[in-house]
Amino acid sequence: MGQKVPRDEDGLNELLGYVKGDVESLDEQNDGVSIEVKDSNHPDIWSVEGIARALRTHLGLAKPKAPILSGNSGLRVTVDRRLGPIRPFIATSVVRNVKPSENALKSWISLQEKMDLTYGRKRKRASIGFYQADLIKSPLRYAVGDPDDAAFVPLGSTEKMTLREIVEKHPKGIEYGTIISSFKEWPLLTDGEGKILSLPPIINSNDLGKVNTDTKNILVEVTGTNATTVGNTLKIVVAALAERGGKIYSCNQTYPDKGAKPVITPDLKSSFKELSVSYANRLLGASFKPAEMIRAFVRAGHPARQVSKDMLRVESLCYRSDIMHQVDLVEDLAIALDINKLDPEWPRIWTLGGLAPETERNETLAEVMIGLGYQELLTYSLTSPEVFVDKMGIEHENHVQLLNPKMSTHTAMRSWLLPSILNLLKDNTHVDYPQKVFEIGPCVLVKENGEGQTETRYKIAAVTIHTAAGFTEIRSCLDTLLASIGLQFQVVPTTRPSFLEGRTGEVMSGQKRIGVVGELHPKIIRAWGLSLPVAAFELEIPPTVVA
């Protein structure tokens, strides 16, 4: 960076604010720090080199400098047309004069991993390879190979493996193989002497693809399915290498399109955006002069100049893949100007606040239940069929099931509320009785029309458990509750698997079934490890949440 950095956490955090970074941990022994960078769309600051470069300009230690080409490396790459549907794009560059330190190598490999994962979308969109440039002869052939015929010694191994063996057995093959395994032929990168460099995007050859601290010249290769992403990835990587003194040389890619000119990479040209001063000020809520903005942009790494009274021309250097829209420039401007210097102002608008009608209704119900002496509960709506189907004596219930649950106790969304309450009561057999509890909570119903429609509904359920709990008691509560909100209803006899026959009723409002009330069946009581009579009701009350 060109300057000593503070060693304490607060000092570091203040500095790292410029790159949206936080100190995650300090390693005092090794004089190291672990930094969390929050911007997952800003790959050029995912390395020590990138952070140093950004901080250098923010602290005014240097002006932003675009990386430049020192010449053409003379390396050519031909691209086979059969790669079209598989992995059509490649961009290469030779960076000379590197001889990286141990730390530099670690940094580049870490950058490679992070870019492959996020920007490269787990290597599918783009993946990076490093090679010893001096061991490789031009022209490179980026073509396809037979998975069972072509073979080489992959990085980290001592024996030759076919491409298919690599995908099936090598850890990287297992992890990323699905990107190419569905095709009949797989991408293969070979040099002018027919030596295999790598199986993109899986793994390099152990002989040509291992860069170490003695390597003077590195070949950087990026392959992928999106031309822009591949090009940007290359620029970001070589820019990091150049920060450590490397000299960037371009390479020529020849694509199979009719009479196409070779694509020369990396393209280190900056991109330019026109930004209106008044637009930026409006968005910031400030009134900065053009000259102040230009100075701030320079600190943010963007050379800029004024082209008219209200317009600035802002340059984004080649590695800034994250500048998609003018708002991205305005944010960089805000960071350079220091957001803590802006004067916070409450919006000068008047709006009428209020709770949702659903909440108001739920609050009224809660108020009555509390008045009846019931304790409000809060349980998870994400639960398991064991809770709301099996242990309730039900055979089948159409409910929302998760594709990727993480715990066996949380695999499905409950369709009714009562089981969640029993699930809580089972943990409280040592707590004083009577226990009178209620909950108003969301449940999810699957609509029967099979169109993938679900509906989130709030329900209210109340349970009383003690030595003398019974139907009369719970029915009194139900009646009180519904009378308080002025709802006309009747209770008609019904049978339900979880409830005792002869002590169960369906709650009807006109022709609509809105709930159930009754005494729980002893089999269900025992299934929950309880040993006292249980009486309960559960209702759906309109208005409900509409899906």
């Binding site: 949206k20 997952s40 769309n41 999106n226 409006r282 968005l283 910031l284 809520g285 400030a286 998609m324 829209h325 708002v327 305005v330 944010e331 805000a334 957001i339 916070p344 102002e345 919006p347 000068r348 608008i349 008047w350 709006t351 606040g353 209020g354 709770l355 949702a356 609050e363 809660a366 239940m369 509390i370 304790q375 409000e376 809060l378 349980t379 998870y380 709506s381 929302v400 998760l402 594709l403 993480k406 715990m407 066996s408 699930n423 089972k426 943990d427 409280n428 057999t429 040592h430 009577p434 226990q435 999810v444 099979g450 993938g452 679900t454 509906e455 929950w528 490890g529 949440v545 509409v546």
Partner: protein, 454 residues
Amino acid sequence: MVQEQTTRTTEVFCTEEGHDYLANGLPERRVVTVVHDSGGKLSVSDAVEQAGLPLDFVSIVTGWISRKGWGKIEKTSSGNILVILKNPPKDEDEEVLARIGQVSIPIDELPPNLKQAVDRLLKRNILASKERTQRKLEITPQGLNAIPIQASVDEVSGLTSEMILSGDWEKIRLRVYNVSSPVPSLNPGKYHPYLRFLRTVKRKLVALGFREAVGPLVETAFINDDCLYMPQDHPAREIHDLYYLKHPSKASLEPWKDIVDKVAQTHENGWKTGSAGWGYKYSREEASKLVLRSHGTALSVRSMLSKDLQIPGKYFAIARCFRPELLDRTHLTEFNQAEGIVLDPSLSLRNLLGVLEMFAREVAGADKVRFKPDYFPFTEPSVELQAYKEGYGWMEFGGSGIFRPEVTEPLGIKVPVIAWGLGIDRLYMMNQQIQDIRQLFTTDLEWIRQQKVG
């Protein structure tokens, strides 16, 4: 006159940790199974990770495996390796757990050979114990004699309606009660303590002019992510970060048909927003996948799409959201997020800071604030709010940003929109001095009953 016979029994029952182990196995069992299934040899840290346990369990697990003689630890240059030759049979600890299960059992009911296991589990906080006191009262012959045969007019225990109306109250003497002695405790109806806190937060937001929005727990990926300009191929949308539904797995995009094309084009090439877009092929099939709502911002999308949307407008929601996580001290899989939006042509970054500062003061009771640049895929610029409270120091309290034009323009919104989110769960835990986030959804009825109201 009364003979009291008190019997005290100690009962044991599973703690919350115990219930976890009952369902999923003791940590040492889980690790041993992983190692055995991987061929009998595995590094300790890998085994712990694959067993779904946090890494600070490494020393706990290796300690128990050694003590129980379930396997060997080999020290190598690259770390400790666990060697498990065969799956050990169910041991006494596991037998005790299985017997206790969901209920509370008196210690004496367990066979004596399991007592040691019970002690071990108590020490490990997998079980907890409670004293159950049974009191039997019996009237002695002396007591029987003391019962008056005739109700004397001298001393009565309570007034009756007759006494009041007849005037006999003048003739009687009311037995003196010891007003200081303890009386039976009551368990009244009360709000759930955490929900009471959320209600307070809602009231404060309403007082600041915010209107509540509500929405479903199940959303299409279209609403949950695409409308927020999250690219469909971003790793954060994989199975580690979102709960996808198996059944039902998809829903029709028909309700959104007016904007699906605009969103699709914005993702692909920026459409008319002036953006470069993400440059990939948008998939309507991917968009119609169903997920459990993973963030409250999904509700902000619904607010922006609502036909009742007002501009100027201020909206909030306390939304229940879901993320695939293992339940532990700092993670819930189902949690609440406070989120919302402010819309008006006049809004700027200064207003964003103003909104955050107001929240910090009014909702968190902070003394001062500071802001840090932050990142969300759907806002630019974005700001992190840090709040300072006397006695607590600085804490991260929320984040906010101005929605990117790629988010608002396809939805037909032409004004700046401030989107904000607050970490209210953390605030609650700080206020109540709760260390374990699972406490918010605790099943401990006694704890719930005991929480103070004020």
